[in-house]
């Protein structure tokens, strides 16, 4: 019998990992910590939160950075430490894990929808194969009006993870969160 997956297997694996954790309250706590540059997304939804461990009043949080020069990493470390202080955790160590490298495939479905609502097109809103490199013909569904009649303005948007597009239908410019 052929099984038709309704959920992306990578996301399924992440969810299972989280469900099996001994520290569900810590994962839930970090749902309040958002990416400082995209406040619509939590660390979990953007897919950079890999693991949480606790020993008494100390915790370690493993994070995989999005882009290597991402200036948000320092702010994220501080925000996590502050969030955990409320749970009585005095010392939080942030472990940066480079391998395997972060990919937009780790972003949750909820995260993708939130991104779109926030005005940023999620990586899978590219018309056609979203894993192909962008070019001047690339079209992305406009997060404002849904039109596919859009054009690429620049492959690099307001942050390293985004590209800049303009919608020919509603004339708004918008960011695309690039597939990586």
């Amino acid at each position: 019998m052929q099984v038709i997956p309704t959920k992306n297997p990578i996301q399924f694996e992440r969810e299972q990992f989280r469900r099996n954790s001994k520290y569900p309250e810590l994962w839930d706590c970090l749902d309040q910590v958002k990416d400082p540059e995209i406040p619509a997304l939590s660390l979990w939804d953007i897919g950079i939160l890999k693991d949480i461990k606790r020993q008494g009043n100390q915790a370690s949080v493993t994070i995989t950075p999005t882009y290597s020069g991402c200036p948000a990493m320092d702010a994220i470390s501080e925000d996590v430490t502050i969030a955990f202080k409320a749970l009585g955790i005095e010392k939080t160590v942030i472990i940066t894990e480079l391998s395997p490298p972060w990919t937009t495939d780790w972003m949750t479905d909820k995260g993708r929808n939130q991104l779109r609502d926030y005005g940023i097109a999620p990586p899978n809103d590219v018309v056609g194969d979203h894993e192909q490199p962008l070019n001047s013909e690339s079209q992305v569904l406009c997060p404002q009006c849904g039109s596919a009649d859009t054009k690429l303005l620049s492959e690099f948007g307001s942050t390293a993870c985004k590209a800049l597009f303009q919608c020919n239908s509603c004339h708004e410019s918008f960011d695309l969160f690039k597939h990586i």
Binding site: G69, L98, S99, P101, F156
Partner: protein, 263 residues
Amino acid sequence: MTSSTETVSTQDIIDYATRLGDDAIVIGHRLSEWVSKAPFIEEDVAIGNVSLDFLGHARMYYTYAAEVSNKQNGTDDVTEDTFAYLRDERQFQNHLLHELHKGDFAYTTARQLLVDVYNKYFLEQLEKSNDATLAAIAMKASKESKYHCRRSKDWTLRLGDGTSESHERMQVALNDIWGYTHELFELDELEQRLVDAGVAVDCTTLKADWLKEVTAIIEEATLTVPDQDWAVRGGRQGYHTEHLGHLLTEMQFVHRSFPGAKW
């Protein structure tokens, strides 16, 4: 890269990671000089992002060098900043190509094309290093370098196949820069030892692919691959052009004036 049972000296690893960090920070800083001066605002943002990517690569290499260094010497006070801010010109071992001045936009574009295509092939090989940390850094950086290559190619085509002025400037830039590319494909004793141990990239093997790809782009841009027999080398030994000292002066000023400053 082949695996080897030879033991690798930790000092060699520190030096190699530092060199790769030097390449990244120097080109990253150079690109940042364009911020607010690029041809138009989208490009201003793009060049800032590419600069930031290189800065990120430098941080990963330096952080690794610091980790190994602390472990080797039983210290805990060496950090990425030690490498970035507290070394002088002669201690930097970046390739000279990376430090050349920013020049006009054609000059920056020509240099960036040569650097980005080199990086793409270099990182592909470093991913196979049997040093797990270097391989992980390469995997991370490699994804970004593909975006960099496309941007450099687009600009090369746009300027080379643009107006007679932009074409002329691109050709002059390529001619001025070409002699600095040779050292990218050379190994010194340190790197040879690490190549033998399966840690470093044998960059002598990258030249054919690199030359093929940049030649195709240069010719598509109606430009000519320089046919010159001059070469400048010495970056990996700490012998630099006049440009590096000025760059470091600006980059290190705050840290040296206010040691340990944080914000």
